[in-house]
Amino acid sequence: MRRAILLALALFCLAAPPVSAADSVNPKADFKAFRAYFTKRFPKVPLNDFVNGPYSMNADLRKQWVEIDAFPPYQFALDKGKQMFETPFKNGKAYADCFANKGIGIRQSYPYFDAKSGEVITLDVALNECRQTNGEEPLDYTKDDMAALTAYMAFTSRGKPFDIKIPNDPRALAAYRKGEEYFYTRRGQLNFSCASCHVQSPGDHIRTEVLAPALGIVAALPIYRSEWGGMGTTSRRLITCNSQVRGVPLKPEDELYRDVEYYLSYMSNGLPISGPGARP
């Protein structure tokens, strides 16, 4: 009898397809490995400093940033965002009515998985949903007003640790997985993935730019970029990355862009919000 059971078990093991770590979805294990990779590779960088991107990698660049931050280039956007946030819609309601804690200090919980729609909701999408619910036109997802609003909301959340949840829902896990896949997939004529720059080469130069580490990379968004001469949202950042490797970008806040933000934000759990940021 015992031999028969062992034989049956052996046959089952042979018949079952092999499942490798690469095929399973395990956000907790990914988080642990991701964190260990960066902390081992950059042992002198304090954990919370990773949110400062290239400034955590390069001392000279950091000195410049400290000087620049005395008169932060995102200040105009911040003031505009505060004013927009506090101005009621035509129906008398305001952004504060759409969010928990009246929208103050909540950036760290975005994006989240919405069980009702089965999709990842970013702060930008939530803001436009709020506008449309109250009879207002949606804002452009890449810059200007949207960047100003999210800058203000990030500012009210500074220092709060990322707290991204991945519920035990196959759709949430699938979204996480798609985000992870997007992050590691090579694309464009230059055959680069997000990871080519932000996992393999943080601290290295591409032309005059110092590449930021993927760990904490979303914490400073939205950002003022000298290269743009203005503010940009997460979508704008991703669109720029795609274009730089000669890939046709997706539409702003495309499902895949939201998924990759979900993945990267989960990887940043525990790290403080530092946005809005300023980058070269």
Partner: protein, 106 residues
């Protein structure tokens, strides 16, 4: 009579040359249309895989621009380049469909 014959043969030569030139032009335009259609089909396939390259679009636009001024030889070259780029982006997407897993931090 001899003068008439000469004039007639000249006319035949001119008409034949014009006919040949028109045929060659028509063939080139058709060749361009076929080359462009192939490139566009490949680019659409890359689009379905969400993996188009900006350079493919640049070549497609250059092909159209050359065709618009009747430079079909140049237009075909650009269309063929666009098709090659689109096919490369399709191959990249197919290869990366599984290869990305090898890059994941474990």
């Amino acid at each position: 009579m001899i003068v008439h014959m000469r004039a007639l043969s000249r006319l035949v030569v001119v008409l034949t040359a014009t006919g040949l030139a028109t045929a060659a032009l028509a063939a080139s335009a058709d060749d361009f249309k076929a080359a462009y259609a192939r490139a566009e089909a490949a680019e659409n396939q890359a689009g379905a895989l969400k993996n188009q390259w900006t350079t493919t679009d640049t070549e497609l636009k250059a092909a159209k621009k050359a065709a618009d001024v009747g430079n079909f030889g140049e237009a075909i070259k650009h269309a063929q380049e666009a098709e090659a780029l689109a096919n490369a982006s399709i191959a990249q997407a197919k290869e990366q469909a599984t290869a990305w897993k090898n890059a994941v931090i474990r």
